[in-house]
């Protein structure tokens, strides 16, 4: 059954809004350690922009752009990025997830930023993969 195309105005407005929502989501992730926000919230905001596009354009667009393999890969990659930073800290001679030994000028902030990015990727991919299978139109 071919669904009816949504209204042109709705599609164009959603296309125009999506980049700004994505920018805000990235901002929330990147500023998680200095202002309210973080990986969980930013990941959901990022996912919501893609869900908005899917609702406006039909779920076929979402299914075409995000394959299930890519989404599950992103989910795993986020968790692995998080756990990997912990292992890097171990290798450099500190406790697991003790960012103080990372070779940066502000190691703790960088460590937190990396794990927030990992959390964001996982949450975004998890939301999208669920919505991808739930959307029926």
């Amino acid at each position: 059954m071919k669904p009816e195309q949504p209204d042109l105005i709705i599609r164009m407005v959603c296309r125009g809004l999506a980049p700004f929502i994505q920018l805000f989501g990235l901002y929330v992730i990147m500023h998680g350690h200095s202002s309210p926000g973080g990986g969980f919230q930013g990941g959901v905001i990022l996912a919501s922009s893609f869900i908005l596009l899917a609702i406006a354009e039909g779920s076929e667009t979402l299914r075409r752009r995000f394959s299930l393999a890519a989404l599950t890969g992103c989910m795993s990659a986020g968790v692995l990025l998080y756990a990997g930073i912990g292992v890097v800290c171990l290798v450099l001679g500190a406790n697991y997830l003790d960012y103080g030994v990372l070779p940066f000028s502000e190691p703790r902030s960088v460590g937190m930023l990396v794990i927030e990015i990992g959390v964001g990727i996982t949450v975004m991919a998890a939301m999208l993969s669920i919505v991808r299978d739930l959307l029926t139109f």
Binding site: H33, P36, R63, G111
Partner: protein, 94 residues
């Protein structure tokens, strides 16, 4: 058998309520969590983590291992939902 279940449930519930009576009041400054780790987080959080946001300092630094568990829960939950949603499907559009 049903009455036994009722008795076990009631007794367990009463025990849990009894146990909760000894809990410190919400926001009590004398409670063990407020006198044990919270002062450390509040007083030395900024210099130890170099992060101005105390919530993130606790969440992503002091308790980073806990947050790793949370992410794993989300990952596992999403995988479980995917498996249940796709269990009856024939086509494979991976």
């Amino acid at each position: 058998m049903k009455s036994l279940h009722l008795v076990v449930t009631t007794v367990t519930g009463l025990l849990l309520i009894l146990g909760s009576l000894d809990m410190p009041d919400t926001g009590d400054p004398e409670s063990p969590p407020a006198t044990h780790v919270s002062p450390r987080y509040i007083e030395s959080g900024l210099e130890e983590t170099a992060v101005p946001n105390m919530v993130t300092a606790v969440l992503a630094d002091y308790r980073a291992f806990d947050t790793l568990g949370e992410v794993t829960v989300i990952f596992t939950g999403a995988l479980a939902v995917l498996l249940i949603l796709r269990s009856g499907r024939e086509e494979d559009d991976s």
